[in-house]
Amino acid sequence: MTEATAPMLDVRNLEMHFSLGGSVLDRLRFGKKGIRLDRPVVRAVNGVSFSIERGEIMALVGESGCGKSTVAKTIARIYKPTNGELRIDGEDVAEHDFAQMLPVRAKMQMIFQDPYASLNPRQKVRDIVAEPLLQQTATAAERREVPAKIEALLARVGLNAEHAGRYPHQFSGGQRQRIGIARALSVMPGLIVADEPVSALDVSIQAQILNLMKDLRDEFGLAYLFISHDLSVVHHIADKIGVMYLGFMVENAPRDVLFSRPRHPYTRALLSAAPSIKEKRDKEEIELVGEVPSALSLPSGCCFRTRCPFAWDRCAVERPDLHDVGDRQTVACHLIDEPERDVA
C-alpha cells in the first residue's frame, strides 16, 4: 500500500460459464418448432468486479451456488475465465497458459476448504510445504535454503520441526489447515485466495486458524480473498465484503458499513437469518421464502426478484447495476432509485 502501484488483485466483469456436456441424445429437445439440440450453460459468475489492495482482506459471502467458490477458483486460474479481466499485481492473467501462470503463482496461492482432501496423503509434510517453493527456485543455492525455510514456516504456523517428517493422516483437521497455510505461505505471495478455510473445523479450532491468518496478514502484509458462507466469520476477519447471489455481486461495502447499514434486501435477509448467541437485538426481520433459482436458467431482470419481498414489475424487466451510494458502498437494487417502495 506504500507506493502508488496497481492493486494486488483487480477483477473486472469476470464471467465464468460452464457448458454442460452430455451425449447428443441427452441434449435433444422436442419443441413446437421441431427438434433442436439443447446447449445447457451454467452461468456461475456473471460479471463480477472488485479489487483488493496489498494487505487488505476482502471477503465474498453468499449461499451455496452463488458462485463465490467459482470466483476463487477462476482467480487462482484453476478455471479459465469465459470473459473479463483478471489482474494480479497489474498483470492481466485471464488468458495466461500454464507456463505463463507459473511465475504468477509466486504472487498468488490458494488455501482450500477441506484439509483432508487438499493434502497429498502419500507426501510428507516437508514435501507438501516445499512443493510450491521448489517450483519457484531456479538455482541450486536457492534449493539448499529450502529445508531451513520449511522449518521456519512450520514454526510460524504453530507446528514444530518433528512434524515435517509425518504424513497428513497423523494430524487433526486444524493442524492440517495449518499445513495448508504453510504451503501457501512458502513462496511469500502477496495474495492468498482462501476458499472456506475454516468451515470444516470445530469452533475452538476455527478461532485459532482465524487468529493465525490475521497475524500473518499483519506480519507479511498479505492480501486475502476470503470465501465464506458464515457472516460472523467474515465480520471478524474482513476489511470489506462482497455479497454474491446467483453469480452476481449484489452489494459491496467496507465491513462496518455493510453490517450497520446493509442496503440490498438479500444482505438484509442474510443478516436477519444469522443465528446469534446474544439475545435478539431489535434487528430487522426479513424472512426469505423459497429457494435459489437454478444457474441454468437465470430469472430475467434482477437475479434476486424471485425471493425478494420488495420486488415489483420493474425488477423483472431491468437488471439493476451496482450503484455507488457513498462510503465506498455499492448496491445493485432498484430500491436505491425508488426508496419509497422499501416498506416491509
Binding site: V203, A207, S232, F259, A269, A273
Partner: protein, 331 residues
Amino acid sequence: MAGKAQPKLLEVRDLRTYFHTFAGTVRAVNGVSFDIAAGEVMGLVGESGGGKSVVGFSILGLIDSPGKIEGGEIRLNGEDLVKAGEARLREIRGREISMVFQDPMTSLNPLHSIGRQMDEVLRLHSDLDVKTRHAACVEMLENVGISRAEERLKAYPHQFSGGMRQRVVIAIALLARPRLIIADEPTTALDVTIQSQILKLMRRQIAKKGASMILVTHDLAVVSEMANHITVLYCGNVVERGRTRELIEAPAHPYTRGLIDSIPDLSNRHERLQQIPGTVPDIRNLPKGCNFRDRCPRAQALCGEVEPSLTAQRGSLSAACHFPLRPGKRA
C-alpha cells in the same frame, strides 16, 4: 431442575456407551445423565468427538457393534430402554421417539417416493386406513411448508433440494406425533436463510404438537435460539448444564466459556478471537483427572489428580469443575 412438578419424559442416568476397537476402547459416552420434561427443548452441545451424537443414537438403541451400551439407564416415562428388546424398540422408534438426521441427502431412500416413505411411518405405527393416512401425509407436508403437497408425494428425493428434503425428513419425524424428537445437527448442511426457515418450522411444530426435543449440535448460536436448557459435553462427559440464558451469559465451566468466546459473533467487537489452546485429547487415552485440564487456563494441581463431578453452581447451572468461574469473570 429438581423439585419441579413437571413430569419427566426422559431420564438418562449414568449412560455409558463404549466402542471396542482394535486401537482400544473408545469411551464415547462416559457417564452422562440428564432429564427432559414434556414440551422442553434441550440442546446437547459440544465439538466433534464430544459424544453428542452417540447419546442420541443410544437413546434410540441404534448402537451397532463394536459399540455397546455398557451401563446406565434411559427411562422413557419410566420404562428403561436399555433393557428393552429390539421388538419393543421398533415400536418406540418413530412413534414415541423419532429422529432427524444431519444429512438430508442421505437420510431419505432414493428408490421410494416421498409419499411412500411418509406413509410407512403411519402404516407401522397407526391403525388408520389408506385414505386417512394419505390425507395425514398431505396435511403434514403442507405444515412443513411444501406447496402442491398432493403432487409432491409422488416425487422422489432427488427431485428436491436440500432444504426441501430436510422439510420432508422433519415431516416424517412428526407424522406419528412422537413425544420426543432427537434432531442431530438438523440444519448444519443447510444455508443460513434455509436454516432459519427450518428452525422456525421446527419450533412452531413442536410447540403445536407439545413434543419435546433434543437438539444435538455444535452450533451454540442455533441452540441458544431454540433450547430451554443446554447440556455441554466434552470427551463423553457432561461438563456443564443449565438454563439457556444463564449458561450463555455466565457459564461456570471454563470449556463453555471458551466455546462461547471463540464464536465470532456479529455483535462481538474483539479484534482477536479468544481461542481455546490445543486440541481435544485422544478419547482412547484420556488424561488422569479432568479431561479439559491441558487446555484450561484455570487448571491447578488438583485437576490432574481428581476428576471433577457435576455439582450444583449458582442458579440453574451445574458444572464439573474444581474451580468454576464466577459471573463477570473471564477464563
